[in-house]
Symmetry: C2
Subunit: 211 residues, 2 copies
C-alpha cells in the first residue's frame, strides 16, 4: 500500500535526522484520555534538569495539550491532524524542522488518541510507549493487539481507579505480555505521579541522569 510505504520512507528520514543530533525520540500512543499528556508532563518534570526536552503534540484541531506541556519546560511544536486519525511521518518531519534539534537530548511525540490507526504509521521514533487506562475496562488489550505488538513500553494508568472499575491491572499486564513478551509493562497513577520513575527506567532514560 503506497501510503504506508511512503510513510515508512519518511519515518526513516526522521530517524536519521534524530540520530544525527543524538536525540532519543519516543512515540507516545494510547486511547482518548488515557493519560498521554499527563505522562509527558510527568516525564518532563522529572528529566528537565538533566535533559533538554522537545515535544511534538499531535491533536485534531486544538492546542490544549501543547499548552499544558509548555508549562513543564519543554520546547513544544503542536501539529493539527484535521480529520486524520493518526500522526504520520510527514507531519512529524515538518514539526522537527521547527525545533532546535542541536539543543535537544530527548523528544516526546504525543500521537492522536486512538488505539488503532497509529499502529500502522511509524514516525521514526526509537521507542513506542503505549498508555492505556484501567477505566476502559478489562478487554482493550486483547481487542487491539496490533498497537501492543509494536510497543516497547506499556503503561497501565489510573490504577487507583482499578477497584471501582473492577479491573485487575495484573490481568491487563498478562494480556500485553501474551501478544508481546518483549514489552515492558508498568503500572501508573500519573495523576499522583506514581510509576513515573518506573517508566523512565523502562524507557532507558536513567543513564547519566542519576534520577
Amino acid at each position: 500500500e503506497d501510503l504506508l510505504k511512503r510513510n515508512q520512507q519518511l519515518a526513516q528520514a526522521n530517524g536519521q535526522l534524530l540520530e544525527k543530533h543524538g536525540i532519543l525520540a519516543i512515540d507516545v500512543m494510547g486511547s482518548v484520555g488515557s493519560g498521554k499528556t499527563t505522562m509527558i508532563e510527568r516525564l518532563s518534570s522529572r528529566l528537565c534538569q538533566t535533559k533538554t526536552i522537545g515535544v511534538v503534540a499531535g491533536d485534531l484541531t486544538t492546542t490544549i495539550d501543547a499548552d499544558r506541556i509548555v508549562e513543564k519546560g519543554a520546547q513544544v511544536v503542536e501539529v493539527n491532524t484535521g480529520k486524520e486519525c493518526h500522526l504520520d511521518a510527514n507531519l512529524v518531519g515538518k514539526a522537527l524542522r521547527e525545533l532546535p534539534l542541536e539543543k535537544l537530548d530527548l523528544l516526546f511525540i504525543e500521537n492522536v488518541g486512538n488505539l488503532i490507526c497509529p499502529a500502522e504509521f511509524p514516525l521514526g521514533a526509537h521507542k513506542r510507549l503505549v498508555v492505556i487506562s484501567v477505566t476502559e475496562g478489562p478487554h482493550m488489550v486483547v481487542k487491539h493487539p496490533h498497537i501492543f505488538r509494536g510497543a516497547d513500553v506499556v503503561a497501565i494508568n489510573k490504577v487507583e481507579l482499578a477497584a471501582p472499575m473492577k479491573v485487575d491491572p495484573e490481568e491487563l499486564k498478562k494480556d500485553v505480555l501474551a501478544v508481546n513478551p518483549g514489552a515492558q509493562v508498568v503500572k501508573t497513577s500519573l495523576v499522583q505521579d506514581q510509576g513515573t520513575k518506573d517508566v523512565i527506567e523502562a524507557l532507558g532514560l536513567m543513564a547519566g541522569s542519576g534520577a
Copy 2:
C-alpha cells in the same frame, strides 16, 4: 473522495432496507471502553419484552462484545473489521443480510471504539448515539467536534467516577451543546443501570412500549 461517496450510497441502500422492514436503527459510537456495549445491554434488557432487537457488533478481531449482547436476548451478528478503524456501510449491509429483518423492530449497531473515523462513515442508521466517559478527562468533546456534530443523542457515562476524575459532567454537556445545539445529552452510570430510561426517551423508543 470516492471511498466516502461509495459508502454514502451503500448507507442509503441500508437505510432503505431497514425502512422497508420498519426497523429503527441506532449507530452506537464512542471511544474505547466508554460503555457502548453496556449501553446496548441495558437498552436491550429494558426493551426486549416489547421489541425484537437485533445487534450488529463491530470489533477488530474478537467476539467479546457479541457474546455479551447475545445473553440479553438480542439477535446478534458480529462483524470483524480487521485493521479498519470504523465500521462502514458495506460491512453493515452484509451483516443485515444475516439478520431476520422481517422479525426485528429495533437494531443497534455497535461501532468500533474510536472518536474520529466513524464520524465520516454513515452506516444507514436513523440515529447516532455517542457514548463518552468522564474517565477520559474534560476535553474529549472540544477535541473531537466532528463526531458530536453528527450525534442525535450523547450519553456522558460513568458519572459516578466524575469526582475522583475531577471532571464536571455539566461542563461536558455544555461542550456538546456548543458544537451541536440540537443534540440530546444524557448523564449515565450504566454499570448501575442509571440514566437508561433517559436514553430510551431521548432516542424516541418510548412510543407504545409504556416503559
